[in-house]
């Protein structure tokens, strides 16, 4: 009963719109604070790596992006399940707003990874298992985005994309492990992956700070996108007119 009420209240667009508006400055401020602390710790305080020199510092962008690429997909798929089961409008908005953000995180993880790969591996791209599954994840994101915008009716597009996101969730582990298995068999002689050294605290703290900053950045962007999307979807509703008139 209470859960149903919570759902109802949280799922109501005007309520969410106002709540998100109140939360936005907090998220944005916390994001900037974490980002500043993480970048300072990572780029200035942390010592250079004994093997990789200064170029390892890209992990402070790369690793959080890669984590976020999976996290955002999970959020999107969870919202997809909510869309299909309870037809909650707000979950459609969140899933729709998440897809491009997640795709950008995936793209950033790929780009920073290949920039790091050039000095380390001597090439921008290798068909390494992780790189390949990240690339396929990007394709999955692009499919979801394509499907969302392919339908004229937004709600149909959102529900179709929800099905695809859920199919992707079943497939992501299969793709991940098959790619990993494929690569172990085809392991090239030119590239040997460096053993992951246990990370020192002076590098771990900024990395975790950056991870928190990326999460907050996602939350901030998500709320902003969801708010504007809600205004557009509900442009004929009374609460939007009141909201605009209040400005």
């Amino acid at each position: 009963m209470t859960i149903a009420r919570l759902f109802h209240q949280f799922g109501s667009p005007p309520h969410f719109y106002r709540l998100a508006g109140r939360m936005l400055p907090w998220f944005a401020t916390a994001c900037v604070a974490c980002l500043a602390a993480g970048l300072y710790g990572g780029l200035v305080l942390a010592p250079p790596d004994y093997q990789q020199g200064e170029s390892y510092r890209i992990i402070f962008i790369h690793v959080p992006s890669a984590w976020m690429s999976l996290f955002v997909y999970m959020v999107m798929a969870a919202c997809g399940a909510i869309v299909l089961i309870w037809r909650m409008k707000l979950a459609e908005v969140v899933a729709q707003a998440s897809a491009p953000i997640g795709a950008s995180f995936t793209f950033m993880a790929l780009v920073t990874g290949s920039l790091w790969g050039k000095p380390m591996w001597g090439t921008y791209w290798v068909w390494d298992a992780r790189l390949t599954s990240e690339l396929i994840l990007l394709f999955l994101y692009l499919g979801v985005i394509g499907l969302q915008s392919a339908y004229e009716d937004r709600r149909t597009g959102a529900r179709a994309a929800a099905v695809l996101a859920l199919v992707g969730v079943v497939n992501i582990p299969i793709i991940h492990y098959s790619v990993e298995w494929w690569n172990t068999l085809h392991q090239g002689p030119t590239v040997t992956k460096l053993d992951k050294p246990s990370i020192h605290l002076s590098m771990l703290v900024p990395l975790l700070l950056m991870a928190v900053a990326f999460k907050l950045y996602y939350a901030t962007l998500l709320l902003m996108r969801a708010r504007s999307d809600l205004l557009e979807r509900e442009r004929n509703a009374a609460w939007v007119r009141d909201e605009v008139a209040a400005r």
Binding site: I174, I175, S178
Partner: protein, 227 residues
């Protein structure tokens, strides 16, 4: 088995689709021709060198089979969508998943299975060793139904769209990656006389998973896109 039971309804759909396919024989040949043409382009484009072809062969055959399936996918629901019989299936009291499964089975029988007929010929063209041929055929028997089943979800999501073709490949091809990896890897291992039971088990497992889940997902997708 009465026509009123879910299985009876599925059989009726299967029978109808097979009959329709046989009556438009010309279209049956298209996937096979495409398969042969794509494979024969590779020696022209890469090199006629036997050793190179032998190394590329398994991958080329699997990619070509995958593309041939992709090409034929659009026909899975298209004509039924255009003449309205798909909507009749949606409102029928029978479980939609069963009907969809019957349609996918019919589709595989007329587009996936015939690929096996020309495969021995293409394997010879690509200088694949004879002892790898049974494994190649087994991977195709296990793998191409997975392609049809997973592809059906993509087609069901895009059937209502006017220009769904490019989108369909974007939706479906990433999901095909595991089948491609295990299929072509089994064949190259067999060519190198390495045991391939593991790969075949994986393909079988993927078939079991797709067989149970894909019709449900495709049925849900049809209900959404024909909303």
């Amino acid at each position: 088995m009465s026509a009123g039971s879910p299985l009876g309804a599925a059989m009726a759909v299967l029978q109808r689709d097979l009959l329709l396919a046989i009556r438009t024989r010309r279209e049956l040949v298209n996937p096979i021709l495409f398969f042969v043409l794509v494979v024969s382009l590779f020696p022209l484009g890469v090199s006629p060198e036997q050793s190179l072809l032998r190394a590329l062969g398994p991958g080329v055959l699997w990619v070509a089979a995958l593309l041939a399936t992709l090409l034929s996918l659009d026909g899975l629901f298209r004509s039924d969508f255009e003449d309205g019989s798909l909507e009749q299936m949606l409102i029928s009291p029978q479980p939609l998943g069963m009907l969809v499964l019957a349609k996918i089975l019919a589709h595989w029988l007329v587009t996936g299975l015939p690929l096996l007929l020309v495969t021995p010929l293409l394997a010879t063209l690509l200088a694949l060793p004879d002892h790898a041929l049974p494994v190649l055929l087994t991977t195709l028997v296990l793998g191409t139904p997975v392609l049809s089943l997973v592809g059906a979800i993509g087609v069901a999501l895009t059937v209502g769209l006017r220009r769904g073709g490019a989108l369909l490949s974007l939706l479906v091809l990433p999901l095909y990656v595991p089948v491609l990896i295990f299929g072509s890897n089994a064949v190259s291992s067999a060519a190198a006389e390495i045991p391939v039971t593991g790969q075949l088990y994986m393909l079988g497992a993927m078939l079991a998973l797709a067989l149970t889940l894909a019709p449900i997902a495709a049925a849900a997708a049809l209900r959404i896109s024909l909303h």
